[in-house]
Amino acid sequence: MTKLLASGSEFVAPGVKDFFLPPIFGSVTKPMVLLVLSILIIGAFFIAATRNLKVVPGKFQFAAESLYDFGRNNIAREQIGAKDFKPFIPLILTIFTFILVNNLFGLIPIIQFPTMSHIGFPLAVSLLVVYPVYHFVGFKRHGFVGYLKHQTVPPGAPWFVLPLLIPIEFFQKFILNPLTLAIRVFAAMFAGHLLLLVFTLAGEFLLLNGGLTVIVAPVSFAFAIALTFLEALIMCLQAYIFALLSASYIGMALAEEH
């Protein structure tokens, strides 16, 4: 790419191709390495933080506790309810930290790639973990027919809309939910990374292409920096939303009423 710019030819906007760089070795790609790195970071962080827990926490323990409490109280307990949330704390915490760290990789220098912009990773979590879990606990709690009725027939709906409502609810609960869950974070990360690429590469192009365009280059870089802050917010937000919705699906599946 640099070669291309230096040669003074036309600016080529970044696109899908920038998300699929050639493998580092064999068939191992950068996002795969990052994914493994993320679980090592999270695992090491929590293991180190919980090695010697004290009733009166130190700074490090307090940080880990805040993170754990956020997943435990703000997401799991709020969405699933104080009665049932305990067994789901590890799942919700794992989802939140897993998505969060992989998103934040998009901002860390050198790494600079949000793993979740490859749809395979969020899809694995939503379709193969969250989806089976919430339907499983739902079937277990309400029985097969009971759960189907519980999920597809909203209480208080007049009978004549049911023929319309039941297929819609079924489609949403059993097909759409896991897909939208994955696509939401994937699209946000993909678009965000693309935006950063556009402004950064455009700035670089303007700077190196010579002529008067050099004056405009700082504007482009300024936008890239501003967008970086926005991205940081979005990355945290998306991780929160993913965990929140997962907990919400579980909570709805377990709820006595809607």
Binding site: M1, K3, L4, V12, G15, V16, K17, D18, F19, F20, L21, P22, S27, P31, M32, L35, V36, S38, I39, I42, G43, F46, I47, T50, L53, V55, E65, Y68, R72, K86, I89, P90, L91, L93, T94, T97, F98, S117, H118, I119, G120, F121, P122, L123, A124, V125, L128, V129, F190
Partner: protein, 182 residues
Amino acid sequence: MYDTLILAAGDEVNPVIPHTSEIILGLVAFLLLFFVIKKFVSPRFEALYAERTAKIEGGIEKAEQAQADAQRTLEQYKEQLAEARAEAARIRDDARAEGLQIVEEMREQAQAESARIIAQGQHQLDAQRAQIVAELRADLGRTAVELASKVVGESLEDESRRRGTVDRFLNELDAVAAPAGK
């Protein structure tokens, strides 16, 4: 050459189509992390929270216990104080009663003593009077006889006749004086 390679690759890749290898890796990595968190992280935190809750509740319980103890001790002291007061009052009453009794006894004793002293004095007085009367009687008899013998000129030497005369005279005197003395 390099760019065209990437471009060519980019044309083929559709970012919405997931790669099977990534799904598998994503799942495995997620499950590994989940295992670590479920096995090591969550139980430790939950144990810590349970311990913290227990400590706080224990502290509150201890404080309540101490308060109850203090309250009980206070009650005890109050009770003891009331008891002591009652006892003091009772002792005071007893002492007063006893004092009254003692005064009464003393008075009785004194009265008895004074009665006794008076009786004794009376007795002594009676004895002295009897003695004096006897002495006077003897003296008076002799003087009267002497006087009479001088007047009459006749000596009444005969003891028995003289005594009989004097006694008779004195008895007459007594008979006259006794009703008047009484």
